[in-house]
């Protein structure tokens, strides 16, 4: 199977996944106790006003009608309007997607930059001090939740040292440096736990590879140690690492949501939490769909990457 057909197949697959997620979310938000009309109008609003608003929002119609209508709109790219402020949901989501994407991407880069070198050093120098240091650091990363790391970073680098701003977000369009200063701490906070796991994976994967017969063959060819490691070993070691990295993307995205709250960044995560509090059904649905879309898309990328570094696998699996 060629790359094109493979991608087409996977995109269709992704569409099905997103449809299922969207449907589950549609019914799940309606199972949350609390009437949006009542929440919107406040606890002491009179019954007539609430009834009128419910009529207006279409909440009086049977659930299946609501569902089909919503689905029809969705297919046409219409995510509906916020019941809270009447803004189109899609605009609201796109408005907050940039900080979330920035933090996730930089967090991922940081995780990889830490995990790969540390994991490789750890495996080559196993049971020596380099390995113990790297292992200790990775366990710190794994065992502390991202938001907690975020709070500690905030206290040290913003509150005490004043190196970077503590709150808020500046768009990349207003300059790379201010943008970077605002997201570096949140990115570290999400990157460390993810990188910690990735480093352990790299270490064990590389250790397996070091024991492989083909590594001995490479040494028997008279190649230098570095060449044996990076030319013959690295790509083989990356194969399982990439798989795990893809599976753990959920951990990373979950981390971003919590970290946005800590750093007061108006991102997808904070919008989602605020919308749940307001029972703002259309926004909740839209946010979850977007997040699952990002997750599916990134996994597709991981799969393509995986296939391209492992010649034993053809696109679409199978030998």
């Amino acid at each position: 199977m060629g790359l094109k057909r493979y991608v087409a197949k996977r995109v269709a697959h992704a569409a099905v996944v997103i449809y299922i997620v969207a449907t589950v979310v549609f019914f799940a938000v309606r199972a949350i106790p609390g009437d949006p009309a009542r929440v919107l109008l406040g606890g002491d609003a009179n019954a007539d006003a609430i009834a009128a608003l419910r009529e207006d929002m279409g909440l009086n119609q049977p659930l299946y009608v609501q569902y089909l209508r919503w689905l029809g709109d969705l297919v046409r790219g219409d995510f509906g309007q916020s019941v809270f402020n009447d803004q189109p949901v899609l605009d609201m989501l796109l408005g907050v997607a940039e900080p979330t994407a920035s933090i996730a991407a930089l967090g991922m880069v940081i995780a990889i930059l830490i995990a790969l070198p540390a994991g490789i050093v750890s495996s080559v120098k196993r049971y020596q001090w380099e390995d113990y240091v790297a292992t200790a650091v990775s366990f710190v990363g794994i065992s502390m939740p991202g938001f907690w790391i975020g709070i500690v970073l905030l206290l040290v680098f913003s509150a005490r040292l004043g190196l970077v701003p503590a709150f808020g977000y500046v768009s990349i369009s207003e300059g790379i440096v201010p943008w970077f200063k605002h997201i570096i701490l949140p990115a570290i906070a999400v990157g460390l736990p993810y990188g910690g796991i990735l480093m352990r994976m790299t270490r064990s994967s590389m250790m397996d590879v070091l024991n492989e017969d083909y590594m001995r063959t490479a040494r028997a060819k008279g190649l230098s140690n570095r060449l044996v490691l990076f030319k013959h070993g690295l790509q083989n070691a990356l194969i399982p690492i990439i798989t795990i990295a893809g599976i753990l993307l959920g951990v990373l995205l979950g981390g971003v949501v919590a970290v946005e709250v800590v750093f007061g960044i108006q991102g997808l995560g904070r919008l989602l939490i605020a919308s749940i509090e307001r029972r703002d059904f259309p926004v909740i649905q839209g946010a979850v769909i977007i997040i699952s879309f990002i997750f599916v898309a990134m996994n597709l990328l991981v799969d393509i990457l995986y296939t391209s570094i492992n010649p034993r696998i053809k696109y679409g699996g199978g030998e």
């Binding site: 017969d213 028997a220 790509q235 083989n236 492992n310 030998e319």
Partner: protein
Amino acid sequence: MTPRTPTQGSTREEPLLEVENLRTSFPTDRGDVTAVDGISFGVDTGEIFGIVGESGSGKSVTALSILGLAADGEVEADAIRFRGEELSTREMSAVRGGEISMIFQDPMSSLNPVMTVGEQIAEVVRHHGEVGESTGILSELRRKYVTGTSDSSRSWQRAVELLDTVGIPDPEQRANEYPHQLSGGMKQRVMIAQALAGDPSLIIADEPTTALDVTIEAQILNELFELRDEFGVSIVLITHDLAVVRETCDRVAVMYAGELMETARTETLFDEPTHPYTKGLLRSIPRVDDDREWLNAIDGTVPDPFNRPSGCPFRDRCDAAFELCSEPLDRYDATGTDHEVRCHLQHDAVDIDDGEPVVEGSLHSRLDGTETEPLDERSGVVEPGGERQ
């Protein structure tokens, strides 16, 4: 010092590879395991030299130790000489893959699954030949991860040529394939091409046909033969298969529990086996259609590596064992030239009387004087010449 009949100066010319008193041990939680225990041999130019032994006898470790590839092993040797010159560890790593190359047992796992077979051969050409292509780490990594190896580079063309030499059809196309796309026999041919790529004068082949089926085995052995005839390379063939030895080797050494028991020309070994272990082996060569492990025919098991007996390691299984056998072993010349046997029966002072070995008076009394030490305190490894480590 123990009694010793010095090995006579060989009439052969200087060997290509000479190994003197090679010892390899592996540290483990339970103490050191001695895998190779003071072996010496030489390999002549253009010769196929067999090292035969059961699994665990230390024959593979011997090969890896010579090349400096015994991963955690502690390797010591009085000398490892190549073309008459002693090689330091560093010099050995320069020669490795070029002048001396190696073919491994399992071609399925010994080739890198994520590199084309062409590149796996071409990189050897670049490192050991003179094709004027950079072998710096950056150039190599660029080739690996960015550009690939150019089809028009000399190293690649040489790789294609070598694939042709070892009998792979359609070599241009095959060079671009990955190991999993080739059959087992073809993979082993690729291993051979890879071993040839550095223009070696010596190839060490560790069980090169064990992982292959019988028809392919014959082809691969033939291939090795032709290499010797065409390029004059010497081959050290490590195997557990006496039938293979008989068909291919000029000389052969029989290895048991880390020691070379008997070294002789192949005809001599098969016609006049002298060491009791060799005799046992030859009695147990199975018929062609018999797949049994040939070693089961000798009663008993190999000595516990953590608790090796002093003296002859074959003592517990040997029918002919007698009083001298707990003494450190030495090399003796047996009948004819080039025939060395490590067995006390060959000692000058030992006579066979009525089928029973008899130790001559003088030696016997001297031995009595040294026998005061209880045996179980003497588990140390014993070297030829009698010094205990």
